[in-house]
Amino acid sequence: MKGVAPMARSPWRTVVALVVGAALVLAAGGAGPTQAQTPRTLTVAVGADIDTGDPAKSTGLATIAVLANIYDTLVHRDADLNLKPGLALSWRAVDPTTWEFKLRRGVKFHDGEPFNAQAVKFSFDRMLDPATHWPGAGSLRLIKTVTAAGDDTVRITTSEPWPLMPRFLGYYGMIVPPAYLKQNGDDALVRRPVGTGPYRFVSWVKDDHVELQANPDYWGGRPKIGRVIFRVIPTDAPRVAELLAGSAQLAPLLPPELFSALQTSSKTKLVVGKSLSVFFVIYNLVGIPKDKPLADPRVRQALNYAIDKKAILASVMHNVGAPVATFCTDVMAGCDTSVPPFPYDPNKARALLREAGYANGFDFSISGTSGTYPGDRDIVLAVADQLNRVGVRTKVDITEVGVQLKAVLARQLPENGWFTRFTDFFGISSIIPLRAFYSPGEWSQWRPGSDPFNQLVEAAQAAPDEAKLAQISKRLQLMYKDQAPAITLFGAPNANGLTRDLTWTPRPDLEIDVAGASWTR
């Protein structure tokens, strides 16, 4: 997802984190006073505040991460993204363009309003109404109508067959209370969210904290931790300091510079989750003339052989993360993990370059960012260094992300490569190729691109079931490696700091699910 400005870290913060990482290691070594003895309240030190309490107003990562505790979706996904009953107990395709959901009975919103099929219809209609300006509407654009059939049945019709819809509804589509909104006005949820989720909203002081209280009547059982405070601390080093001081117990999504501080302290631990994000250097192939080096797939492959992903992971990412072969990670549906990544083979890289007629290398440039994605600047500099070693003279331009994305969307990126991170929160292997490499796609820089690849991407979207999706996905992965429209790097880290008395499982979709958290002592 590109709508990540709330999580964007200003460039100097990386410098701060780097400098201070070392100091925190020292601080972690000593024994400071323990302020908290098994606190009843869980304080989560988050890097960004929620944008709004209304799920139909934002798709921001920081917002969804917190709101997922207040609202439920029809489909629930467990920590490995397996689909489980949520507000819907079961679902089935009645015909290729109609899904039927059987709803859970007896569920109430936090204000006592009963949850039913009308609430589902209301929530979807509101979300998809163009007047709402929900930024996620594009993902659910195939939904045509939502109708309530009785109190506990909902039918969703789609404009074309959409077998993978339940996976989308495991992330998007939080259900809101219609009567509450009618009574208090359509923007009532912005400041006072009311859902059916495991936690009830207590208070929100903008840019300071959000407080939640366990919902004793939760259909999934009362959460173990009664009170949770999400405290907004925009700089990463103080988030770790809060853990070391015992005044916060969970600091999600930390950058690599701070890992060692957590690992050396006797009070904290580093917990790494699976990732739905992949780092790429996407080649700028917009209208590329045939005589340019990057027009030749052998050159595009050669650059992949030139990158020692494990070395970058070790030096920049503290060994958190794993090389990615293509465009999907092991936690995404349909991703074939037997397809191997390009091995590090500089000789093969040079041989391919020679074969393509570039024995003396060529000039190459990459547009990178600093402080937007964890480790971004260091990764792109390491990539450039390794490319230089096989004779590809690489220049890096660090650009502010807003400026970079504007150029990308206008297909006017001045550089030959776009360093970025693509994330698929729905957990489906065919999504990133659709967003990043399918030629007609918004962000695609592969134009005119490859017809067979585009057709296969389209086929994957229409796959009638997940077995078929896996088949198509494998062919797509092989074609991707052959055509190499990008230098594929590794998964973005999902690294979290915890105090040792807390048990908590990070989710690949980065929702901060505190209902599953508990104290160990």
Binding site: M1, K2, V4, A5, P6, A8, S10, W12, R13, V16, V19, A23, L24, L26, A27, G32, P33, D51, T52, D54, K57, T59, G60, P130, H133, P135, G136, G138, S139, R141, D187, V190, R191, V205, K206, D207, D208, R231, I233, P234, T235, A237, P238, A241, E242, L244, A245, S247, E400, V401, G402, V403, L405, K406, L409, F422, T423, I431, R435, E442
Partner: protein, 309 residues
């Protein structure tokens, strides 16, 4: 005096128009808010819809004219990202910024003037050298560095103060010290220079010769006369502090204007950036105006000059 005020006010309004024009131009040239608002799943239509909804598909001149017209009516618009009125966001952040700025100003005055006086009175001594070394550190130490050092020592190691956050007086101590300390360094150097100059004046010698006590000479005669340049710097500093201290606010998780503005810039939340710029400029100009008025009180010569003019 009233003519002077009107002139100053007219100047202030022109300056503000300049500020908002520059902010408007820079923001619109450098980034596309739609690109940052949507997810990677967005289609062209989604983005067009968002641009249309916020009027971003209009010519820049039209957007600018609408914007200025709204500002004149006191309407700063709605945040793209948070969907609440910008005025509400600013009101919510101004209090914290004001609190921090006041505390920092107090630190700057107390620490800065004390150090500067000690250095001036004991000119050339060890105290002078020590005070000026402290001042040198204060100016040259980056505030993020000092802030994090304090956090590690007082927050993590000793556990005396909360690491970060907004709340009671204990939350205010470290950020006020870091922000105020930076300005205290400047103030102390200026106090020293200014005081040394005054202490060399004939009327001070006269005062001493009359047998006035050293304390009376220093506080009643010297300090008041040395205060004018210090006051100017304090006024400017206070204006800057009220604009929001981005670094200090970020490190100490202080929910002030600086953070609001930076987040808005990064997210290309145009209405919020513009609102923050306008507020910052207004506050800065207001503080400067106040300082000018205070001059008259401190230095009667200026007051009579104003009356003659």
């Amino acid at each position: 005096m009233s003519e002077y005020l009107v002139r100053r006010l007219a100047f202030s309004l022109t300056a503000m128009l300049g500020v908002i024009t520059i902010v408007f131009a820079l923001l619109h040239v450098t980034g596309d808010p739609a690109a940052l608002l949507v997810t990677q799943d967005a289609t062209r239509q989604d983005m067009e819809r968002i641009r249309h909804a916020y009027g971003l598909d209009q010519p820049l001149s039209v957007q600018y004219a609408r914007f200025v017209e709204r500002v004149v009516r006191g309407d700063l618009g709605y945040s793209y990202r948070q969907d609440v009125p910008v005025t509400e966001l600013i009101a919510g952040h101004l209090g914290a910024t004001f609190e921090l700025a006041l505390a920092s100003l107090a630190v700057a005055i107390v620490l800065g003037v004390a150090l500067g006086m000690a250095a001036a009175v004991r000119r050339g001594s060890g105290i002078d050298a020590a005070a000026m070394t402290v001042a040198l550190f204060g100016t040259s130490m980056p505030s993020f560095w000092l802030g994090l050092l304090l956090i590690i020592v007082f927050g993590v190691k000793l556990g005396w103060l909360p690491v970060s956050g907004y709340g009671g007086l204990d939350h205010l101590i470290m950020p006020a010290f870091v922000l105020g300390g930076f300005y205290a360094a400047q103030v102390s150097r200026l106090t020293r220079t200014s005081l040394l100059e005054v202490l060399d004046q004939d009327y001070i010698r006269t005062g001493r010769a009359k047998g006035l006590r050293a304390r009376v000479v220093l506080f009643k005669h010297a300090l008041r006369n040395a205060a004018l340049p210090v006051l100017t710097v304090l006024g400017l500093s206070f204006g800057q502090m009220l604009g929001g201290a981005v670094v200090v606010e970020s490190i100490f998780a202080w929910p002030g204007m600086g953070r609001l503005a930076v987040q808005a810039v990064l997210g290309r939340d145009f209405p919020v950036v513009q609102g923050a710029a306008i507020t910052g400029a207004a506050v800065f100009l207001a503080v400067n105006l106040t300082v000018d008025l205070v001059y008259g009180w401190v230095d009667p010569r200026l007051r009579s000059a104003g009356q003659q003019a």
